[in-house]
Every structure is written in structure tokens, then in C-alpha cells.
């Protein structure tokens, strides 16, 4: 127990890094996944093929490998210095690369969720949109996607929960988030490993429960009777 109390600063800063990773990667993944889903339902063959292969590649590759490749590829492409700061908090290049890796990986799952949501919107909606003269982009943006997002809240929630847990993989590449702190402390104070594990696990459980809570609130707010 003392180990947890004595290292509370390290653990707290670890969880802050976890939350930042979750937040930024989550936003990026949602945007990218929605664009990919639009590709996958579009009438343009090459975009459809790109969307399909993107999803198949990223869903079937382990996240560790995606991150390892991101760390190898992104700096080689010339993006060497990706350190940045938000609200007085410094983020290293490794953080940024891990963040993009997580976003690329999660985008594939978001894409599939949004696509199934688009397919669940009844045909009449899009037909009505077309018959009053809306273009493909307009009917997607104004009619279909707003309805699709309501039905995809439960699958999106499980994706964000998976993302919250997946941020721990960044620890393998030295991003000092919660799992990294746990590994460091477990190495240092092996006899206290039960406290360290339960302490960090409770932190993750709180994050997961918060996401489900927010999701059920949002779901209640935007629910529509069909």
C-alpha cells in the first residue's frame, strides 16, 4: 500500500498521459473512421477498394505491430520532431507517434461500426433526400449520418473502451502512461505487486466505467423513437 501512496505522483501523471492518449486518439479515430466509412459506401470504386483494404489490413494486424511500424515509418518519412504541448503539458515525439498508431488502428473499427449504422438507416430516408434534390454528400451529411450515429453509440462505446485499454500498449514503446508506471513499479517493488496491480487496474476500471456512463447519458439524450 505504501508503494502506491509514495508513488502517487508518478501514477497520477501516468493516468493523465493515458487520458490524453485516449482523448486525442479517440477524436482522430472517429474522424478518420467516419471518412473511411463514407469511402466504403460511396459509388466511387477506387475509394471503396481503399476503404475495404484499409479495414482488412488494420483489423487483422496486432496493435503492437501497428505501433512498431508507425514508430519506424513516420520519422523515416521526414516527420522527425512531432513533440507538441497542450495546456502547458509537453508531449514527446513518441507520444505523438503512438497516438497516431492508436488512431490508425481504431479508425478501422470505427469505420465498420459507422458503416453498419449507415446500412441500418432505412432506405426511404436517403430516397427522400435524393428526391428533394440533395447530392450524395448532402444526403450523407445531413440525413443519413446523423441517424446512423444514434444507432452506432453502443458499438462505438465498446470501441472507445477497447481504445482506453489499448492505450496501455504504448507502454511497450516507452510512453510513460499508466501501464508503463505499473511495469516500472512492479520491477522496482516486486513484493508489493498485488497492490500495484489492483491500484492501477482500479484506475483503468474507473476510466472504462466513466466511458459507459457518458455513453448511456448521450444515448438517452439523442435517442429517437423509430
Amino acid at each position: 500500500m505504501d508503494t502506491l501512496i509514495n508513488n502517487r505522483d508518478a501514477i497520477w501523471s501516468g493516468f493523465q498521459t493515458t487520458l490524453w492518449l485516449l482523448l486525442i486518439a479517440g477524436v482522430l479515430a472517429t474522424v478518420m473512421g467516419t471518412i473511411l466509412a463514407a469511402f466504403r459506401v460511396s459509388p466511387i470504386g477506387s475509394l471503396r477498394a481503399f476503404g475495404t483494404s484499409y479495414v482488412n489490413v488494420f483489423r487483422n494486424t496486432p496493435l503492437v505491430l501497428v505501433l512498431a511500424l508507425a514508430i519506424a515509418v513516420i520519422p523515416t518519412l521526414g516527420f522527425n520532431d512531432l513533440a507538441f504541448s497542450i495546456a502547458g503539458r509537453e508531449f514527446t515525439t513518441f507520444f505523438t507517434v503512438a497516438m497516431f498508431g492508436l488512431a490508425f488502428y481504431t479508425a478501422a473499427f470505427v469505420c465498420e461500426a459507422v458503416r453498419s449504422g449507415v446500412n441500418s438507416v432505412s432506405t426511404g430516408q436517403a430516397e427522400a433526400a435524393r428526391s428533394i434534390g440533395m447530392t450524395f454528400t448532402q444526403s450523407l451529411r445531413l440525413i443519413v449520418l446523423p441517424q446512423a450515429f444514434r444507432t452506432v453509440i453502443p458499438p462505438l462505446t465498446s470501441i472507445y473502451i477497447a481504445l482506453a485499454k489499448n492505450t496501455s500498449v504504448a507502454a511497450i514503446f516507452g510512453v510513460p502512461e499508466a501501464a508503463y508506471q505499473m511495469r516500472r513499479l512492479s520491477n522496482k517493488y516486486t513484493s508489493d505487486i498485488w497492490y500495484i496491480f489492483v491500484g492501477i487496474a482500479v484506475g483503468y476500471i474507473i476510466i472504462v466505467l466513466t466511458i459507459s456512463l457518458i455513453s448511456s447519458l448521450v444515448e438517452r439524450k439523442v435517442a429517437v423513437v423509430r
Binding site: V41, P43, I44, G45, S46, L47, F50, N56, V57, R59, N60, T61, P62, L63, V64, L65, A68, L69, I71, A72, V73, T76, L77, G78, T106, F109, E112, A113, R115, V118, N119, V121, T123, Q125, A126, R130, F136, S139, V144, P155, S158, I159, I161, A162, K165, N166, S168, V169, A179, M182, R183, S186, T190, I193, F197, A201, Y204, I205, V208, L209
Partner: protein, 283 residues
Amino acid sequence: MSDVLFDQPGPKARARHNVMTAAAGAVLVGLAAVMLWKLWQEGEFEAELWEDLAQPNIAQAILDGIVATVSAAASGIVLSVIFGGLFAVGRLSEHAWVRWPARVVVEFFRAVPLLLLIIFIFYGFQDYLGTYWSLVIALMLYNGSVLSEVFRAGMLAVPTGQSEAAYAVGMRKNQVMRLVLLPQAVTIMLPAIISQCVIVLKDTALGVIISYPELVFQGQLIAEYVKHAIVPLALIAVIFIVMNYSLSKLAVFVERRFAQRGHSSAKKTAQVEAGALDQSGGA
């Protein structure tokens, strides 16, 4: 292709779509070409690298990695199915003292990142377990908990007539669960179990953190050896994609087979569950 969003295109629209397909294709190919050219310029594809990669010990390392990955994943999935079955029955028990502990265990292991479990089991018990069993037990606890929820849904989806009939011929609760509901739930859920195999296979890659010699670990060793990371890691990615893509296709095939055999009432749940698992993903 989704038919929700656009009507069947006429000749004009088809011509327009063809032009846009070509234009978008050109842009995508162009982007890929710029990336590959940049990597080529940085010497990621130089002739020396391919010579290094052609050595027999590289192929051996990759083969060892495949064996290590598949054997950990296989043990992991078998133990997960057993664990999942036990805890699904536990969660459906009539006795609160069985139901509640089972629920706490399942909810806990589902909410905790797998990597945390691996680190905990490895640092806590490495003297007894070693890397292989540390990884396999972590896989069992995490994926077993996920599967137990799947089985529970499956057992609830078995038509009530089945358990009523079993009670009518004089079976006990224990027998009904063990002999009637669980076997049917497992068959209904076979596609979901196969989808979970994809996740387990991907999750074995987390073994790198405890230096278990699976594919990603071997890939990193090779990368160090040939002093270039991108090509070896991409090669490992291709191996994973081929293995997992065939497994997902197998899941779809099995699902179709069951649909033909007409497990109609339970089929829908199985599809829903398989979909949910697909989407939440694992690491």
C-alpha cells in the same frame, strides 16, 4: 456496396463514377508512390537488405515466431473456452454465492487491459510460470471473461423448450446446464468463438513486453539484425493479416453453415455477438 445511398446509376452517372474512380485511384496511387519513394530514398529498400533477409536463419526465426504465436494462441483459446464455459454457468447459477463471485471475476478481467494482466502475472509468478504460461494464463483470464459473456448470451438464447424438456425428463439444474444448454450454446456461438480466435492471435503479440519469442518479437530481432525496421515488420504484418483474414473467412463460412441448418432463433444472437466482438477488437 450499399444501396441505401444512391439509386442504380444510369449510363451518364456510370461514366461520371468511372471518371471519379480513375481520379481518386490516381490520387491514392500517387500518395502511396510518394511514401514509397521517400522510404526508398532513405535506403529502406536497398539491395543489401534483401540479401540479408534472404539468409536461412531469418526464415528460421520467422518460422519459430509463427510456431510460438500459434501455440500460445491455441492454448489460450482452448483454456479461454473452458474458463468461459465455467464462468457462464457460474453467472447463471441459482446460488448467489456462486453468481456474484463469478460476476465480479468476469467484469474485472473484462475491464482491465490485457497488458496489465501479462505484466502482473509475469512479475508476480515468473519463477513458477515462465513467459509462455504467463502469457497463456493472461490470455485465458481476459478472453475467457469475454467468452463467458458470449456463452451466457448463447445459453439464454437456447429455446426455453429445451430446458423445460430436460427438467421434464427429470434432469437436475446441473445436468440441464452441463448436458443441454452449454453444448448448444457453444455450437451456436462457434462463429463468435472463431472471431475471438482472431483477437487471441493478435493479443499474443503483447507477449513482446515479457520477451516471449512470438512473431513481433522475432520481427524486432530481425529488424535489429538487418538494421532496418520497416521491411521486416511489414513482412510480419503480412503473416498476421493472412492468418487472421483466413480465420475471419472461416467464421463467416461456419456461420453460413449453421444458418443453413436452421438454428433460427439463436442465429440472430450469434450474429449480433460476433459483430460486437469484431467491433470491439482487442489489441
